[in-house]
Amino acid sequence: MSLSFLFLTVALLAVFAYVFGRKQALSAANNDIVQLHSLPGYYGFYSLLWCAIPALAVLILWSIFADDVVTSLLISDLPAHLQNLPPLETQRLLTDIHLLAQGHQLAQAPDADLSAAVAHYQRLESTSSMAQTVMVLLFAIAGLLWAKKHIHKNYPARNNVERVIQIILFLSSGIAVLTTLGIVLSVLFESIHFFQKVPVNEFLLGTKWSPQTAIRSDQVGGSGSFGAIPLFVGTLLISFIAMLVAAPVGLMSAIYLSEYASNKVRSIVKPLLEILAGIPTVVYGFFAALTVAPWVRQMGEGLGLDVASESALAAGLVMGIMIIPFISSISDDVLTAVPQAMRDGSAGVGATQSETIRNVVIPAALPGIVGGLLLGTSRAIGETMIVVMAAGLAANMTVNPLEAVTTVTVQIVTLLTGDQEFDSAKTLAAFALGLLLFITTLILNVFALYMVRKYREQYD
């Protein structure tokens, strides 16, 4: 039976289990609901869970492990001269067997041993899938019977079902933790690989980033230095410019919208500003590279300045636009959380509205605003597409916004899509950068969230 069909069968059985369990409970109480401990539906769910969960668990585990078991069985049953091949040969042999079993033709006709192995493999496979079907159905039915045995009118079905549901709820909240774990693990191994080639302190403290190592073995690379500091300086420079745009504009528009604007204006302007947050970053990148960067350059030349084509300024400006709604929506939340009583008090002693805002509301909301700004910064640091399209690749260690700088995310993308050999330090550096990026944003986020939270508690 194919997997999806088996799954469907189990699902049907589960539905049947629900109906069956419900009926069972009702008949146990002689159709008098009041006599039952729980509502009849809970008995239905109870038997549904018993029917479906063990069966699906078997289904999943079998699907995961069956292949390995079949392969090892196959190898142990091969003729002796095929059994002790070097791993490489075994691998190839297995591939051939798989392909032949799927009905494909190989370049050479298989010899007798191979044909026998293929036949054996097919037998094993069909046995395995047969056994899987039987086991799964057996578990489903056993679960159903088990539930039936337990259902009587005093059985606390609701409590048990609720416990299972709570466990499911708990497990789904665990996915977030698994994700973080997955992120760390998926970059960690390659990073360790990288740090075997390039020492950690050189990576963290080096002030020169120039992966000009050779692509081919017969070449000698120029310089190959992997100091991440210039990348972080570039990233911070662009983020700083972005915040220079986003912080005042975002904050002031939040203040105006939450304190001054009429409801009507607010209901139109707020969604419009939120569109800025919804625009895909690839669109911003396009805009930054083709419209803003040339414009910045022209302006600079008009003023007699020397501006690079990929100036940090252009990328930063556009990134700032992207972050405006982010800052404004967090500031908006924080500002509205300041109790009205504080504003009234200020107005009561004769302050104008702007004085109230500047001297009362903003100081009260300051930790939240700072937290919001930090979150905005962390977003700017991690932004990829804008800088991939508009920022440069040369790692200049500079704080001059008119020069080209590169960022961590740009380097990750270029290194991973480059033409060099994959296991070279060059490619592996991308993972180390990914790890570093994750850690940096983690620290920034945790700190920012701490600020936002701490503040919120004050007035709750």
Binding site: S173, I175, T180, I255, G278, S378, T384
Partner: protein, 429 residues
Amino acid sequence: MNKKTGTTLDKVQVGLKKRYAAERRFQWYGKTAIAIGLAFLLILFGNVLSNGLSAFFQTRILLDVNLSAEKLGIGENPDRKALSKADYNGVVKASLRELFPEVKKRRAKRDLYKIASNGAAYQLRQQVMANPELVGQTISVWLSASDDVDMLTKGYTNREQIAAVRRLSDQQVIWVDQLIDKDRLERQINHDFFDNGDSREPELAGVWGAVMGSFYMLMVTLVLSFPIGIATAIYLEEFAPKNRLTDIIEVNINNLAAVPSIVFGLLGLAVFINFFGLPRSAPLVGGLVMTLMTLPTIIIAARASLQAVPPSIREAAIGVGASHLQMVWHHVLPLALPGMLTGTIIGMSRALGETAPLLMIGMVAFVVDIPQGITEPATALPVQIYLWADSPERAFVERTSAAILVLLAFLISMNTFAVVLRRYFERRW
């Protein structure tokens, strides 16, 4: 009144003008900030619109095509296979020669053929395959002109430029003008752009494949992230005991919401493709990565809307004897659902516009066939934009902007839907 010894009121009055000025200035700052934001929005849209609108039109040529079996190189009563292999290219070329019988030289003929698109033969094939009775007839059909002609009629190619650097020769420009005079060449609505998958011929390239790829991806994301997100939110908000473990989960979720999207791409590559062996370039993997990426957004929104349900509702439910889960399931959840939906839509719209993680999991691919399921190779709209932006053919520039327009249209309609939903269900307790 004596100014020197003035009362408090006098002191206030002295500074009043200044304070009012400051007040006006402050308000003006606010208005300027909003104006700046909106101006950026306007510039961006104006820019994309002015570049992209022309891509919704396509230059086509009216050709009289002789579809006799002999010209097509097929026997009488051809089967489908013979029909699909017939020489459509030849008949298109023949009809062009008929239009300009004076063209004799081999080189000149080659130039002449370049007026029609390489895809004209495919378009003709499509029509004949759909309607085999056409064989044996001579029909007049509108077929796509080549991208260079398209660029000329749209004014992107400068007619004044010397022929050496222009993509079209002087003779070709003359032919195009003659065709226009004969009413055989005009710009029509470009339905190919909406119907087709990707293509390397700009005049054949369309967004439908990318739209379907994005659609399948979002479906996977929705099916996974909505239930998981809501289950997590319910657990954390309603059931979780206050202990270290739940604290870690909370910090984690808030942090994940701000993790750079490209890091999720690295995760997808390592876990879903390398570890689980899922196919590359599949909407399934894209959807899984997007699920992990949008989950925090959905969880945070869902928690906020659970918090907004007033305690009185909970207490009333508990009061009449509901269990904790029944209280949540029957009373709190239905009230919080609209807010959760809004959060989900916003999460989805972010997933729709995201590119960076897809770069890592092989969705930057050339896919012509329209994907039919979640495991078939596909691209997504933002990736298509990224790919077209990198294509050498000039005509892709306007198509890039047009694809951006399509993407923005989807995003804005999703956001508007979320706003409307929020308004409609918004409740003041």
